[in-house]
């Protein structure tokens, strides 16, 4: 289906859902039909899985928030100050909990927080009605989400997997082209852009794939394959940059051997060609070659390595090149398997997909706490205005302060988001006023209402279907529905219209002020913060044997995306040139290898490798504490190289050597070369 037609079918489905929700709400005499109306807009999404997941989360969050308000209001209603404190605290707790979870599930807590204000603060003058209000809120929200879920699953549903498979294919194509170019040249500043794109893409895959559980039943669930694909994609950049680093060091210390240059050329050509590996071809290689028949993959294992600097660098480059080829070949096979249910995977991938564990994303408890303070503070401040000023509409201001801070809690620039929401409301109000005071008085009955509302609903839905206008469309739709406040009988009251809408604006302005005070986050500062969290993770990997390497890698890759996007916004690299997410990932992967090969080597080599891990941990501790202590990374690694070089050449000792060289390139001062030393 062409794009414009898809948008139109989405808008039609949405309009049908809105009208159905309104009709049922009027027919059943519900208190506030407009709650059902804007709920449809809130859960609307061109992807049916996203609609259905948000539907479930919205019902759960509403139930939780309604229960809390029933629990809080009766005992506290006679002590307004305590009540405001309790409600603000609840909003803060909910914002904190929702920020710890970056998946769409976080909406449950976010909504639970401000639903308590919507129900609780609206009934303080008639506390006896809290139960009825809570029930009607739950009814209206459920009605809205059910209408939206049914309409969007029945009328031309679009599954998230179709969308994702297209994106995966195009990303693999462009990644192949980029990697093949990157192999032939040294690192350069514009690489940051590619890093950001791929890392953000992998995180998006993670977040978007959570909707698959909620898709219509014909969509295959393949969370294991998706997890594995993310693992492999996260390996591409650290591997290719390792090769680049090794080549640069080789070029600096002499020349690149024709053997290595040839291997790189062949790999580069293969990456660009887009040739699919044969998934069925048997692979005899450790780790599986997936049938990739490149000289780089097959030829390099047998021969002993010259233990001088160029020889070791070459070994490092070859090892990383091989890992790059494996990761890319696996990615392609996984992408094919995801797109085509019947495609058969090699056994090792099948097994890995079935056993892959949970992959957590980066989270920041400190920032979550800060946002929670901002949200609780804004709610409390608006409550204070309400009580001290004896302002009848103050409750609405408190509600909107809570809503504004909650919805903006994930953003770096919260104040800007809330300001644009205010502008959206101001734009929608004349529109709502036109309907409220000029059109609605002239009509009677649901059919006439549906006819006059349809153009507006269709317009907002069309806006929601587009990527660029989506947010604006949602704000306009909500402000329009709220401003219209359609109820059973028409009661236009210009004073009430102005009062409640100006209270909304005041509430949002309070939210802006609190966000400016508490949550003006400098992107460069945040980038440093995220990088430091990554350094702590590197230390954890060095000291704790139980850390799962693939999970670690994906989390670091997620951080890489977060850091590079913030550095781009800040327009400069943070203090010192020390922020380098790719370096941290390389160090981690090399440490993983060092950890893994230790078991197959002699006890003296194992002890030397343990010392290397301990030194890396100390090096990162000094980075974290901002002091650059003189740490003997170089010597410890060199000792490790000597011990491993003395071992009989085997797969394990070669991999270990390559990893040690990788660590040395990243952690030892630039230009340092390993020189053969004799163990005395």
């Amino acid at each position: 289906m062409p794009r414009s037609l898809r948008k139109l079918s989405f808008a039609t489905a949405n309009t049908a859902a809105v009208l159905a929700a309104l009709y049922i709400a009027f027919a059943r005499d519900l208190e506030r039909p407009y709650w059902a109306m804007f709920t449809v807009f809130i859960v609307a999404n061109p992807i049916v899985g996203a609609v259905r997941s948000k539907a479930v989360y919205r019902i759960l969050g509403t139930l939780l928030g309604a229960s809390i308000s029933i629990f809080l209001i009766p005992p506290l209603v006679d002590a307004p100050a305590l009540l405001c404190l309790a409600i603000s605290l609840w909003v803060g707790i909910c914002v904190y909990l929702s920020l710890l979870d970056r998946t769409p599930r976080s909406y449950v807590f976010l909504l639970a927080g401000y639903t308590a204000t919507l129900i609780g603060l609206a009934v303080v003058n008639q506390p006896a009605t809290v139960f009825d209000t809570a029930v009607s809120r739950v009814e209206e929200i459920s009605l809205g989400v059910i209408c939206a879920a049914i309409a969007h699953s029945v009328i031309f549903p679009q599954s998230v997997t179709a969308h994702l498979n297209t994106k995966i294919r195009s990303t693999l194509m462009s990644a192949g082209t980029w990697l093949s170019e990157a192999l032939m040249r040294p690192e350069q500043a514009s690489d940051m852009q590619a890093q950001e794109q791929l890392a953000t893409f992998v995180t998006d895959l993670h977040l978007l794939y959570t909707h698959v559980e909620f898709e219509t039943s014909d969509v295959p669930r393949a969370a294991g394959l998706m997890r594995l694909l993310r693992d492999r994609l996260a390996l591409l950049l650290p591997r290719v940059s390792s090769v680049q680093k090794a080549i640069a060091a080789l070029a600096a210390s002499g020349s690149v051997s024709p053997r290595l240059a040839g291997a790189i050329e062949v790999t580069s050509h293969w990456l660009r060609s887009g040739e699919s590996p044969e998934p069925s071809a048997p692979s005899s290689l450790p780790g599986g070659g997936g049938g990739v028949n490149l000289p780089v993959v097959t030829a390099q294992r047998s021969r002993a390595v010259a233990l001088d600097w160029p020889g070791l660098l070459e070994q490092n480059a070859i090892t990383n090149l091989r890992e790059l080829v494996f990761a890319f070949a696996d990615s392609k096979m996984l992408a094919t398997a995801l797109a085509n249910d019947a495609a058969n995977l090699p056994a090792h991938l099948e097994h890995e997909a079935a056993t892959a564990g949970h992959r957590p994303l980066h989270r920041d408890r400190g920032l979550a706490l800060l946002s929670a303070f901002a949200a609780a503070g804004a709610t409390l401040l608006a409550c204070a205005l309400w009580i001290e000023g004896s302002w009848p509409e103050g409750a609405v201001a408190a509600q909107f302060a809570a809503i504004g801070c909650s919805l903006a809690a994930t953003l770096d620039d919260a104040a800007k988001f809330i300001r644009s929401a205010i502008i959206g409301i101001l734009l929608a109000l004349p529109f709502a006023a036109l309907y409220e005071f000029a059109i609605l008085p002239r009509i009677d009955g649901f059919v006439a209402l549906a006819i006059v509302l349809s153009p507006a609903i269709l317009l907002f839905s069309l806006m929601q279907a587009s990527d660029r206008l989506g947010g604006a469309g949602l704000v306009l739709a909500i402000a329009f529905s709220g401003g219209l406040a359609l109820q059973d009988t028409y009661k236009a009251d210009f004073a009430a219209f102005v009062n409640s809408n100006s209270a909304e604006i005041v509430g949002l302005l309070v939210a802006v002020a609190m966000s400016l005070v508490f949550r003006t986050i400098d992107p460069a500062w945040n980038a440093v913060r995220i990088s430091k969290a990554g350094w702590r993770e590197v230390r954890r990997l060095a000291t704790n044997r139980r850390v799962d390497l693939p999970a670690w890698t994906e989390k670091m890759f997620d951080r890489l995306g977060l850091v590079t996007s913030r550095i781009r916004i800040a327009g400069r690299v943070g203090r010192r040139g020390d922020i380098d997410g790719l370096r941290d990932m390389r160090v981690g992967l090399n440490m993983g290898t060092v950890r893994g090969v230790g078991g197959e080597l002699g006890s003296s080599s194992r002890a030397a490798l343990e010392r290397v891990l301990a030194t890396v941990s100390r090096d990162y501790r000094s980075r974290l504490s901002n002091r650059r202590d003189a740490i003997d990374v170089e010597e410890t690694i060199d000792q490790g190289i000597v011990f491993l070089g003395a071992e009989a050449p085997s797969g394990a000792s070669l991999d270990g050597l390559a990893a040690l060289i990788g660590l040395r390139l990243d952690l030892a001062p630039a230009g340092g070369q390993y020189a053969v030393k004799r163990t005395s």
Binding site: V48, I150, S153, V154, P157, T216, S217, D218, V219
Partner: protein
Amino acid sequence: MIGEIDIAGVFVPRLLIAALIAFCLTAVAQRSMRRLHLYRFIWHAGLFDVALFVVMLWATAVVTAAGNIPGVK
């Protein structure tokens, strides 16, 4: 189908209870059908899921209300 059930002093419509039961039944049915790859034979899974729920709701209503409501045996 009309009538309410008293759960600890809160009156809950029977239709809501029936809908919750039907939802669980539908989820089980969908899961097993997916496991058996039966959705290959279905043209419009979204429509099918909705219809399945309606059938389940009707079945639940008939089973739980049998004898109580005139017209439903």
